[in-house]
Symmetry: C2
């Protein structure tokens, strides 16, 4: 158990945005919330998942919806805390701690906001190790844990509890529709997990990983060294290409941001990057170069900062890197939930690290 410093949280925002692999929304608004809460004297502590008792109750939080909407309806730290309180009222127990469902993007910040208000620690773990667009794309779903209950909250005072879901996919469908009606963004508290479940199925130490990743980038920039080299070293990643964005195609469909970006590499080759919120597959001449569940990250070639699928635009100089996936998503059941076919691409997954 250690108290997070203000610097840790700044680094978390940078690292989480990289782990967002283009999606998950920028952590920037969450960061602004956390700066304010720290200015007000609130503090957040980070808890080792191994310190959880098997019977502890852990709240799992996230903002659900279209990240773009948060540019109009700002992230409100009290809403996330409220989603946890509604869950406590529903299950009739208090939570020992709170954790992120996804460490990639803005949702890395959500447990911190809830923790600051509720004065409970944040567990150093998540259930994606990155960002993914759908509710069944988690280690908890791979582990076949219960998908329900879930609470969903909007700022007007509307609150919904999905008390039972036939499957994870049904939880996704039902909660997505509620979120859409709430204005395409909702604060949610996912199915509570026991300490035993978090220890068995959570991906440990991803908060620390994101903080360290962010620090590597910030330190490299401070020393005028190559930030991308620092990322690749910290995460044992692989550089796919450097080049220029020459075309972007983007459409908002069924609550997701879908499309593709076309890049021209410095060696004059054309690379296509598909996305569904997150980058899913990198193509060259119709053949996949890299794909989910490995993390495809598009970074500003100078600063090493992540570029979101909603922000990528013509003319940007970018470097595309690939970071390793958590082991659990490389299993048959993992690939079923988050492999290329889960995103509609009829190709087998092949690791860029095995070639």
């Amino acid at each position: 158990m250690r108290e997070l410093s203000a610097d840790d949280i700044e680094a978390l925002a940078v690292g989480a945005w990289i782990l967002g692999t283009g999606g998950g929304g920028s952590p920037y608004h969450g960061l602004l919330n956390m700066r304010r809460l720290y200015d007000e004297g609130l503090r957040v502590t980070l808890m080792d998942p191994q310190a959880l008792a098997d019977g502890d109750d852990v709240a799992v939080v996230s903002y659900m919806g279209a990240p773009l909407v948060t540019q109009e309806r700002l992230v409100d730290s009290r809403m996330t805390a409220r989603s946890v309180e509604v869950m406590e009222e529903y299950i009739g127990r208090k939570f020992r701690a709170v954790m992120a469902i996804e460490i990639g993007g803005g949702n890395a910040m959500q447990p911190l906001m809830a923790a600051a208000h509720l004065k409970i620690p944040v567990v150093d773990a998540d259930a994606m190790g990155r960002a993914y667009p759908e509710a069944q794309m988690t280690t908890f779903a791979v582990g076949d844990l219960a998908p329900a209950p879930l609470t969903s909250i909007d700022p007007r005072g509307n609150e919904v509890i999905v008390s039972r879901a036939a499957t994870w996919k049904w939880m996704e469908r039902t909660s997505r529709k509620v979120c859409t009606e709430f204005g395409s963004i909702a604060a949610t508290c996912k199915a509570p997990r026991t300490g035993a479940e978090v220890k068995r199925w959570g991906i440990p130490y991803t908060t620390t990983k994101a903080i360290n990743l962010g620090k590597a980038v910030m330190d490299a920039n401070r020393r005028h060294e190559d930030p991308i080299a620092a990322i690749l070293k910290a995460e044992r990643g692989k550089r796919l290409l450097a080049g220029k964005v020459v075309e972007v195609e983007r459409r908002t469909t069924e609550g997701f941001l879908r499309g593709r970006a076309v890049l021209e590499s410095d060696g004059r080759e054309t690379i296509v990057l598909d996305f569904q919120n997150e980058w899913t597959v990198a193509w060259h001449d119709g053949r996949p170069l890299a794909s989910t569940p490995e993390l495809i990250c598009v970074l500003d070639s100078d600063s090493g900062e992540a570029i979101g699928t909603e922000m990528v635009r013509y003319g940007q100089r970018v470097t595309v890197i690939v970071l390793p996936s958590p082991e659990i998503f490389l299993t048959p059941r993992g690939l079923q939930n988050v492999g290329p076919r889960a995103f509609g691409h009829d190709i087998d997954f092949r690791s860029v690290f095995s070639s």
Copy 2:
């Protein structure tokens, strides 16, 4: 408190369909369920609302969604009972009785099915006195009672609790989206009402009214008398016209069945009937002849049976009658919720009974 006979329930199906004013869905599938439950030896008792203690909890049930869907996914009496059980689990109390939100159409049968399974009585009352398409179109909304909580159930095992709603309109929006995702039909248990609330805001004795109306039609047919005259006498209604359906326009939009039927009266006049699930306004030469909240009923000219807006078709010989509205909907607040403007028609309500 009296036990309903099998004949009462047959009559209820006929009377409720007339009070549906074209919407609410046919009570036929509900009737089939009740015949089966009565064959199995279950019985339902009807309770005078005045017999409720102020502090009694009353469950308010309905099927929500597109009536047409029930022709593929049959009404299941256990689903309605389950929606009540989920509400009991949520509020932590058992219900004293169950009542209909709308006595018009198939929802007149819903409390009977729940009552048969749960072995509690049905309160002889509802909150519409007819059928209306939206959640805020009830006496409970006119009385500004709390719109939440609501439970919504599908046959796959999905269950949602709308635990808080900013307004009645928000309850309508949120629960409608859930229902749409469940396949455009869901069994719902609306916000529980106390005995005091039912006595103050419910419309009393509408179950008995529907039974008597159905009996009047069935008796007249048995005696080869005019069933429509029997309805007008029982309900102090007014005959608007008799004629033939010459045109029907129907579209399913935003979860509702909208459109218009054009009738040619026996006097060669052209009458247009608009509908949103229920018949809303009758027009002649662009002037309103009759409108909601008064009950516009389109009946088969021979049998006196109601014709639903989803069933009306070219060539039918019909008689259009108007029945009086419950007093509460004629107040300014009532008209705001269910008057012509609530259905998008920019006209003032004028009673056919005052002219």
